[in-house]
């Protein structure tokens, strides 16, 4: 049974038992954290990190900490990497985690035939050598974010011997990891039950059993909490969050996460006109959007770097100034009577209030002389249009950056050759290009700050706000919210 059993009045109970039930917002498609769609879905990583160990751990504030690797780093000229494996870690089947497992996992991830979507990162190191618990590898091409990836998407160590014996299908049926929890039962699209791994190298989890209930509908997740069927949930509408947290027996907490709302600007007419781009930026009252539509749960931003990211620079500002927007448009011959016209694309219901937000922005634009028509698309369409460089002049999107590195925000979103970039201008290619291989970390970060400043001055993207994650849990629990948005059961304890 969950902390409370779902009987009348039980929603207020919070006597901890051995089971923690989490109403989770997505289904778990696959247990292999390194292959296919689920491997690059940030929302699923909480489950993966309960079962598997990433190479390197990540603290709630996005900083990095020892995981299965206790030490990692480059040599002085960045031609070699050194990794040191923790001693005494075991797989769920009791066998030891070995350096051979680490090397096999890295080589498998780097193999183009493996289907690892981040293969292009892992392939930048090879020729691994093992000496005791120390592994060295040769750098094929310098990738400054290599170790950051080791804490996130597809950066997991898998058991070589078991994977080879069980095969892909066998692993899916009975996955084995080295994380704090091992798989006990799985009903696809319904629930995943985990049991604490007795041989786990880290702190013993507070709950012996964890149940992830896959409740993909937000209304149903709210009902789960109200009925007492689950102990923790998240990603619910902000109105419901406010209502639930006022209920006796339930506690609400929020945390800004590494996910931002933004509007891509495509380098096509009329966005080739700097005045139009800057006017579109200055005409948006981000604070009003956050306050009125998101009930205050959001942090307005001026660049693609949110607070907490490595290259966040609070000195860069893009003021809400409708008069400035009008004067900029006037310079290009536009006015509220003779507005500039373009299309803006948005999802509807993919993120909280996405469509309503774009409606509000279109209203703000109209007042200064921008007449934008809204086109609704599915998120899958957005990805394909973006990869084909076929987005509308403006397109709403939410960009996640759980490792907080500027290359995985400004870098990939604004660098022309990247398939994720909508603004293909040569100006940014020249500014961002040299930063990819920059070996001096301080210079690299400073370089990205300069690029962000330039982008803000040119209005080549419209950053809107940083999302805030609402978490509701029962009284009597302590939930450690993560800046990367993960809800890790091993960090949930009785209060």
């Amino acid at each position: 049974m969950p902390l409370s059993s779902g009987l009348i009045g039980n929603s207020a109970q919070a006597a901890p038992s051995g089971t923690l039930t989490i109403a989770y917002n997505v289904n778990l498609p696959s247990f292999d954290p390194t292959i296919g769609l689920s491997a690059v879905n940030p929302t699923i990583q909480s489950i993966y990190q309960a079962i598997f160990d990433p190479y390197i751990g990540q603290a709630p504030d996005l900083s990095f900490k020892p995981g299965l690797l206790t030490k990692w780093g480059w040599n002085s000229d960045r031609t070699k990497v050194t990794l040191e494996l923790r001693k005494g870690a075991t797989w769920h089947d009791g066998s030891p985690v070995t350096p051979e497992d680490v090397v096999w996992s890295l080589q498998r991830a780097a193999d183009p035939k493996s289907g690892n979507p981040i293969q292009f990162v892992w392939s930048k190191v090879g020729n691994y050598k093992i000496d005791g618990n120390t592994i060295t590898g040769d750098v094929v091409e310098f990738e400054p974010t290599l170790f950051k990836w080791m804490a996130f998407l597809t950066g997991y160590i898998l058991p070589k011997a078991y994977c080879e014996k069980a095969g892909t299908e066998g692993f899916e049926k009975a996955p084995v990891g080295s994380g704090p929890y091992k798989v006990d039962a799985f009903e696809r699209n319904a629930f995943l039950r985990l049991k604490a791994h007795p041989g786990y190298w880290g702190p013993k989890p507070a709950f012996d059993t964890v149940v992830f209930k896959f409740v993909t509908d937000p209304t149903s997740r709210v009902a789960e909490m109200e009925s007492g069927g689950s102990d923790v949930t998240f990603e619910i509408p902000y109105e419901e969050f406010d209502r639930l947290k006022a209920k006796p027996g339930l506690v609400g907490q929020t945390k800004p996460v590494s996910d931002i709302a933004m509007i891509f600007i495509t380098d096509i007419a009329p966005m080739l006109d700097r005045n139009v781009r800057l006017a579109a930026n200055h005409a948006i009252d981000k604070k009003a959007i956050v306050d009125r539509l998101l009930k205050g749960y959001g942090v307005p931003i001026a660049t693609l770097e949110a607070p907490g990211y490595a290259a966040f620079d609070p000195s860069i500002k893009v003021a809400y100034d409708p008069e400035l927007a009008k004067s900029l448009l006037a310079k290009s011959g536009y006015s509220p009577e003779k507005p500039v016209q373009f299309k803006i694309q948005t999802t509807r219901g993919f993120k909280p209030k996405d469509y309503e937000m774009i409606q509000a922005i279109v209203g703000m634009w109209r007042k200064v002389g921008i007449d934008a028509t809204i086109e609704v698309y599915e998120i899958a369409q957005h990805f394909e249009l973006r990869a084909r460089h076929a987005l509308a002049p403006a397109a709403f999107y939410n960009w996640g950056n759980a490792i907080g590195d500027p290359s995985t925000s400004t870098g990939f979103a604004m660098f022309g050759p990247s398939p994720h970039c909508a603004w293909k201008g040569k100006d940014l290619v020249e500014r961002i290009g040299p930063l990819w291989g920059e070996k001096d970390e301080a210079k690299r970060i400073a370089g990205y700050k300069a690029v962000d400043k330039y982008i803000a001055e040119e209005g080549e993207v419209i950053p809107l706000f940083q999302y805030v994650q609402p978490i509701i849990h029962k009284k009597g629990l302590r939930v450690v919210a993560q800046s990367n948005g993960m809800i890790l059961p091993q960090l949930i304890t009785p209060a």
């Binding site: 292959i35 769609l37 979507p117 892909t168 009903e187 209930k213 209304t219 369409q381 050759p417």
Partner: protein
């Protein structure tokens, strides 16, 4: 339906399925949004995208892809799911029983409820109370199944939390099954406690699916009963002194059943379609819930497998309904 007609219908099944498969296959590939676009991580180059496209066989011309896939289907291999990394046929086979059990329960509830309401309604014919019955049927019909799902979820999950609102079985129950027909198997093996736990989880989604269906059954059956009751044979029976309940049940009911079965059968296919949203709302692990994930992830092989499964179910149901109607109606039986 005569034997020749049955034969014709059977012969038409393969080309129908081929048509469905071809349309779905082509549509999925021409509509914007593909699984590769969904999994492109930050930093992927055009070459990385092409590598992934080739890995999943999506770099080939559509005709080439279709021929390869359909060849596999003919040998019983529906391909591998891109998002679930498992054989599509096995995945569908594993989840289909959950949907079939839910549909069966919903249909049973709908038929029982519809029958009772229709009989009560016809019994009250001409009285003020008949308005109440007709009004009730109208309300049930006006609210679609997914809205009933939300209403029931809030009513019995939150306001009066009597029943579980997610899943097929309590995650804390450890039971092993030989088949994926959990409810039927537990009933057949006498595990009543397990069956009760399963029914607890199924009752709300089944009711959500059943209510609009029950209203339709009630409306059609009541109208057919009224029409049949006005026929000469019913009037004669009445003149001969038989009681009204006896006439309704013995004389009128069998004749009124034919249009109800015919239209109700069509409704069962709609009910199956309704499982998609209702399963999602109740986090029920059937193929409807799976279909939504498959569409979100643009998991082409899984969508194709699921559409073919739904198509086969619809065809089988329509044939079964026609067969039952033929058995009930001697005019069709004898041409």
């Amino acid at each position: 339906m005569r034997r020749g007609e049955f034969f014709r219908r059977f012969v038409l099944i393969p080309p129908t399925l081929f048509g469905v498969a071809a349309i779905v296959f082509v549509l999925l590939r021409v509509v914007p949004g593909d699984p590769i676009a969904m999994m492109i991580p930050p930093g992927a180059s055009a070459a990385d995208i092409n590598r992934l496209r080739a890995f999943y066989g999506l770099d080939q011309p559509i005709l080439h892809q279709f021929v390869a896939w359909f060849g596999q289907v003919l040998s019983g291999d529906f391909g591998r799911s891109i998002s679930l990394h498992q054989n599509v046929f096995e995945l569908v086979l594993a989840r289909l029983p959950a949907t079939l059990e839910l549909a069966l329960l919903a249909t049973s509830i709908a038929l029982a409820l519809g029958l009772i309401v229709a009989l009560v309604g016809i019994y009250l014919r001409g009285r003020h109370a008949e308005w109440l019955v007709d009004g009730g049927i109208g309300v049930l019909l006006a609210v679609p199944d997914f809205l009933w799902a939300l209403i029931l979820l809030l009513l019995f999950g939150v306001l009066i939390p009597w029943l579980p609102i997610s899943g097929r079985i309590d995650p804390q129950i450890d039971v092993s099954f030989h088949s994926n027909f959990y409810l039927i198997e537990s009933l057949l093996t006498g595990r009543i406690d397990v069956a009760a736990a399963l029914l607890e989880h199924m009752i709300l989604p089944a009711l959500a699916l059943a209510l609009p269906f029950a209203a339709l059954v009630a409306r059609i059956l009541k109208a057919s009963l009224a029409e049949a009751e006005d026929q000469d044979y019913a009037q004669i029976a009445r003149a001969r002194g038989f009681s009204r309940p006896k006439i309704l049940l013995r004389e009128v009911f069998p004749n009124a059943l034919i249009p109800t079965v015919a239209l109700g059968g069509v409704q069962v296919t709609l009910l199956l379609g309704g499982t998609v949203l209702v399963e999602r709302i109740f986090s029920y692990e059937g193929i409807g819930n799976m279909a939504i994930d498959a569409v979100i992830n643009r998991d082409f092989p899984l969508i194709q497998g699921l559409v073919l499964t739904f198509a086969m179910l619809f065809i089988a149901l329509n044939l079964a309904v026609d067969f039952v109607v033929t058995l009930l109606d001697p005019r069709l039986r004898h041409g």
